[in-house]
């Protein structure tokens, strides 16, 4: 079983549109019914908007804990505020209270409180879902706005997808990753066999592609690159390709800027299903064939 993770560094380069199209294309090929899709961008989970999932299972996701001060026993000494390094203890109108948004859940205040007036409470920070996606089983989640622990939720989504894939002898899992290079990206990359970076040939896109490439390489995972909206700034696209060539990174094609991608999103469909003959669809189809070959390389 192989895991493909789609990343970008910069947000909005087209990860989700590409991932959704891959799911559609996979369902029309040799491995239809042999793959699973997972959405690892849990704080901006958009894949469900184009894969129209029918919910099978829903589960609360408990993240970190937050401190709560018992006002009846509080001695108003302010020790909690002194030890908190997250500026999470507010002092207003003569009372100390924990700002649950700022609280990191470290419990330092709990152990320092001389009157044992602070306790930790577990928080439900999101939801985890298993669905029948349009083309395959879909594992996805929704981290509630402003919550912590996105990395753990990403890990849960990926683990469950992987278990089903192994159980049912499926050939691969396609994972739509988050932007950036931090904890959810590291969780998404962990255990991946191949990372596809959807790069954008803009000055920001190139800068951020370098950062995500370094991150993926840091964790020893093979990366390949495709270029989205390639014709918006051809100089940037050339720069990406020559950089990849010099550094031994395979590039698997250019996707032109094509508003059909947006129209497909509005219709709630992958672009390759919405309009297979559109320039972006044709390009993504070619790229998918190459990605699939790289993904299954060495797999018996």
């Amino acid at each position: 079983m192989r895991q493909l993770v789609v990343l970008s560094g910069k947000g909005g380069t087209g990860k989700t549109s590409v991932t959704a199209a891959f799911a559609h294309l996979a369902s029309e090929g040799e491995y239809a019914d042999k793959f699973i899709v997972a959405d690892a961008d849990v704080d901006a989970a958009n894949l469900e908007l184009v894969l129209q999932p029918q919910l099978l299972e829903e589960q609360e996701f408990k993240g970190g804990q937050v401190a709560v001060i018992n006002q009846d026993t509080c001695a108003f000494c302010g020790e909690c505020q002194d030890v908190c390094r997250f500026d999470a203890i507010d002092y207003t109108d003569g009372l100390y209270a924990v700002d649950p948004i700022a609280c990191d859940g470290c419990a330092a205040c709990v152990y320092q409180c001389s009157t044992e007036s602070i306790a930790m409470y577990e928080q439900v920070v999101g939801k985890f879902y298993v669905s029948n996606g349009r083309y395959s089983p879909l594992y996805h989640a929704n981290l509630y706005p402003g919550q912590d622990n996105s990395g753990k939720l990403v890990t849960l989504v990926k683990q469950r997808a992987r278990l089903q894939a192994l159980d049912e002898d499926r050939v691969f899992v396609i994972v739509d990753g988050p932007p950036g290079i931090g904890c959810p990206v590291i969780s998404a990359t962990s255990g991946a066999d191949l990372v596809l970076i959807v790069a954008e040939p803009t000055i920001s896109g190139v800068h951020d592609m370098h950062r995500v490439l370094q991150t993926v390489q840091h964790f020893g995972v093979q990366a390949i690159v495709c270029i989205n909206k390639a014709d918006v700034y051809p100089d940037g696209a050339d720069e990406i390709e020559s950089f990849c060539e010099v550094n031994g990174i395979q590039t698997v094609g250019r996707i032109p800027f094509d508003l059909t991608v947006t129209s497909a999103m509005v219709e709630g469909e992958p672009v390759t299903a919405f309009h297979p003959e559109a320039p972006a669809s044709m390009a993504i189809s070619t790229i998918w064939a190459e990605v699939l070959e790289s993904l299954l390389e060495g797999e018996v």
Partner: protein
């Protein structure tokens, strides 16, 4: 006055709007710009500051003195993140799990724990050609936690005399976004009129509401997609402050590193009006 740009969805134009707003504001007032997208900081590519100040930042992690440690395990007991463990006659620290809260140091009965800085990234500061006081955080590759770097960036020069501060947030709607938005006077939510844009706008609008920060919306790439963002803004009483149409020449110019107002100076009056609206709203 602190104005934060946020979006939920990535790539909607947060940095595009923030940098041009800074340019306009700098014509009247002293401006400080903080690029809080420490995982993928891009504002400097457009504002082109000369960076002459640098500071390594991170969190304080424990260091155990084996001579005085009695392996009582109190430190491991209080650590909520399993970042310190006693195994036989050894106390192990796992820096990548540590949140730097200092709880272990506080509870150690032998005072065997000292703390040292675990560097997770750098802050860089300088000035742009327009005399914008610029600073950015850059997280080291392979580090998981952006929040400590954002926290340090925001308090790097706490008594900055700048009249207007602009904070450019990362995408998403989780803890790094909250850390950036906290304490702002106004949130400028930059979105695009598509289902993805709307879905993620709602997430970040909820954070802003929770934090009780007044907000307005910028619709970028206006004309693509559908009208659902507009309907949502109306229902939620979120004013739409500017619409920037989808134009290929703008996309091309920004791709090459130009500021929006360099590429499309005709939007200057809109930005001036937006800044006025924000200032009036905050001062009210």
């Amino acid at each position: 006055m602190q104005i934060v740009t946020a979006s939920g969805k990535g790539g909607t134009g947060k940095t595009t709007v923030a940098t041009s707003l800074a340019l306009i504001a700098a014509e009247q007032d002293s401006v400080r710009f903080l690029d809080c997208d420490v995982e993928a900081p891009n504002a400097g590519l457009f504002l082109e500051p000369v960076l002459d100040a640098r500071k390594e930042v991170g969190i304080l992690i424990p260091q155990v003195d084996e001579e005085t440690c009695t392996y009582c395990g109190k430190c491991a007991e209080v650590c909520q993140f399993h970042a310190i463990a006693v195994v036989g006659k050894k106390t192990l620290v796992f820096p990548e799990l540590c949140h730097g809260c200092g709880s272990c140091t506080l509870v150690c009965p032998e005072n065997a724990i000292t703390e040292h800085l675990n560097v997770m990234g750098v802050l860089e500061g300088g000035s742009t050609p327009e005399q914008i006081d610029f600073a950015q955080g850059v997280m080291n590759v392979g580090e998981p936690m952006a929040v400590p770097i954002i926290r340090e960036l925001k308090k790097w020069i706490p008594d900055s005399s700048s009249e207007i501060e602009i904070w450019d947030a990362p995408p998403g709607a989780s803890c790094p976004v909250v850390e950036t938005i906290r304490g702002a006077d106004f949130a400028l939510l930059v979105t695009e009129p598509t289902p993805f844009g709307l879905h993620d706008l709602k997430q970040v609008a909820e954070i802003v509401k929770e934090l009780d920060i007044p907000a307005g919306v910028v619709i970028n790439r206006d004309g693509i997609g559908d009208s659902a963002v507009e309907a949502y803004c109306e229902d939620s009483a979120l004013p739409i402050l500017i619409r920037i149409p989808m134009e290929r020449r703008i996309a091309e110019a920004i791709a090459s590193g130009k500021l929006l107002l360099e590429a499309a100076p005709e939007y200057r009056p809109d930005f001036e009006a937006m800044l006025k609206t924000i200032v009036a709203e905050v001062s009210a």
